[in-house]
């Protein structure tokens, strides 16, 4: 199993618990980003590709061209949280302003918080699913001044130290206590003046009201389905869902 860094911790704890009930099962899990996972699926180096985004057109056509059939499983729902320092003047932000900040149109915080200091964006690198998710969701390309960090921990470390910093990380990471005391999670309003929703609000996520939420996918090579079916069943079981929730993700019941 290869792919999304967002999902790798979750997948590992799922696998560890699965071993307890079925010890003849063996699975190797690595991260590296959704793109890498799907590429591994293409090159037949992985049975399962974890991905925090759907397949893009290129990948879809390459899979077809190479005759690899896949089955798709949605096993959890992830939300992306926008974080700032605890002392930050505002608690919520609307999507339009956020778009302008991330694309570099707004260069200082003056009109937003009153402080005349330049905006510092802490983001992920382009091989991260979170990076492409935020950029596609807002339909912007990130400001060229945006810093590209190596992972959630580094982004939070950067924001923690920086009064002018704004960063984005998986909400699961914060729910698990990765945020610490000095971090504030911004509420997001879809329209200026609209109701702002926090990614830590479970009810809102279940109703899909938070703007930056997305399903987490597992793409499974159809030829490997029998090999992994037991594991997938475990993910859907009560015990599996408990682990998913404990890891800071949400489960939206299929209907």
């Amino acid at each position: 199993m290869k792919g999304s860094d967002t999902e790798v911790n979750l997948a590992v704890s799922l696998a560890e618990n699965f071993y307890k009930i079925q010890d003849d099962f063996s699975i190797a899990i690595t991260g590296g980003g959704s793109g890498l996972g799907i590429a591994s699926l293409l090159n037949r180096e992985a049975d399962i590709a974890n991905s925090s985004r759907p397949l893009n057109a290129d990948e879809d056509s390459m899979l077809k061209a190479r005759g690899i059939k896949i089955r798709t499983v949605v096993f959890a729902e992830d939300a992306t949280a926008f974080v700032v320092q605890k002392k930050f003047a505002i608690d919520s932000i609307d999507v339009e302003t956020l778009t302008k900040i991330l694309s570099g149109q707004i260069k200082t915080w003056k009109n937003i918080t009153g402080l005349d200091i330049p905006v510092n964006i802490y983001g992920r690198q382009s091989n991260s699913g979170t990076h492409s998710f935020v950029s596609k969701k807002l339909n912007v390309s990130f400001s060229r001044e945006a810093k590209e960090m190596n992972g959630n921990a580094q982004i939070l470390e950067g924001v923690r130290m920086d009064v002018s910093g704004i960063g984005y990380v998986g909400a699961g990471y914060i729910l698990q206590g990765g945020g610490g005391q000095d971090i504030k999670v911004l509420k997001i309003a879809e329209m200026p003046g609209g109701t702002a929703v926090s990614p830590l609000d479970e009810k809102a996520i279940l109703e899909r009201r938070y703007y930056f939420q997305r399903p987490l996918y597992q793409f499974i090579a159809a030829s490997s389905w029998n090999k992994v079916a037991a594991f997938i069943a475990f993910e859907k079981s009560l015990a599996g869902q408990k682990i998913i929730k404990a890891s800071g993700y949400y489960i939206i019941p299929e209907n």
């Binding site: 793109g35 890498l36 290129d58 200091i117 390309s141 060229r144 920086d162």
Partner: protein, 296 residues
């Protein structure tokens, strides 16, 4: 009979060593050809002129631009900064080790310095994020310290062991008769070091610097973690930069095979390879020159 066995042993070992030697050359040649091949594929799609003059590296936008200039400037900025710190510090330490330090102190200091080379680059990069970055931010009154200066300081630490060890060897290699002659005409220890020993060891010191530069240019993980990796054209030392190595590390994992972007990464890798090759050749040249001079 015994002779026959021994001759056979000799022949077999000769064959083994020849094979290993050739294998290394073969691997190097293979890497070089792969780089060259992909670079040519890149230049079929993108004009070399655009590659050199464009001021933007932005392969993922719709109108992709592949300008190496910002990356090259980033790498240069970080490397020059590192050398500005590491050269005086390295030569000073080496001079102390070879001419001032007592034998006991030297026996402690040398292994300690060499141990510095064994610290993993990830650990040094982490220090850059949690200690050096906030430190720089506080000292300079900026909001954050993930910039070229941070990378330069960390790289200077990483290239120090190389510079110190090679410089110390060079200084140590200057025949004692030089120093004795200098003392004989009434020069102090400091004057001797500055006017006699260091100039006499200059080729060796230059080699040390070149090897240090090579170390700094090729480093990936530390700069990837500590310099912020913003893709905008770098303005100064307090600006976030994205070096050639960091760009390859970030983008290679995701790029689809055999696209222009994929070839572009090989092209910048080839540029990096050429730079390091030249730097190392210059370094080697001076090392050899200095050896000849030693033998005479």
């Amino acid at each position: 009979m015994k002779l026959l066995v021994r001759e056979r042993m000799d022949n077999i070992s000769k064959l083994i060593f020849r094979t290993t030697g050739l294998l290394v050359i073969l691997i190097l040649g293979g890497i070089f050809i792969m780089l060259l091949w992909n670079t040519i594929a890149f230049f079929i799609k993108v004009k070399p002129f655009d590659f050199i003059t464009s001021t933007q590296w932005n392969p993922s936008s719709i109108t992709a631009t592949y300008g190496i200039l910002p990356l090259l400037v980033s790498t240069t900025l970080v490397t020059i900064g590192a050398m500005l710190i590491a050269i005086p510090l390295g030569i000073g330490t080496a001079a102390f080790l070879s001419d001032y330090a007592g034998k006991r102190l030297k026996n402690i200091l040398k292994p300690v310095i060499e141990m510095l080379a064994a610290v993993p680059s990830v650990a040094i990069g982490f220090l850059g994020i949690v200690v050096l970055g906030p430190g720089i931010a506080q000292l300079t009154g900026q909001s954050n310290g993930l910039n070229a200066l941070n990378g330069a300081i960390l790289l200077s630490i990483m290239s120090l062991p190389t510079i110190i060890t090679v410089t110390e060897d060079a200084l140590h290699g200057v025949p004692d008769t030089y120093r004795e002659a200098s003392y004989g005409v009434g020069a102090s220890k400091w004057q001797t070091l500055l006017k006699v020993t260091i100039p006499a060891a200059a080729p060796g010191i230059l080699a040390a610097v070149m090897l240090g530069v090579g170390r700094a240019i090729g480093e990936t993980m530390t700069v990837l973690m500590a310099t912020g990796n913003a893709s905008a054209f770098p303005k100064d030392f307090f600006h976030s930069v994205r070096t050639i190595t960091a760009t390859i590390a970030i983008e290679m994992g995701e790029v689809p095979y055999q696209t222009t972007h994929y070839y572009a990464l090989f092209a910048i890798a080839a540029v990096l390879f050429l730079i390091t090759l030249v730097v190392n050749l210059v370094g080697e040249h001076y090392v050899n020159k200095y050896r000849k001079y030693q033998a005479a």
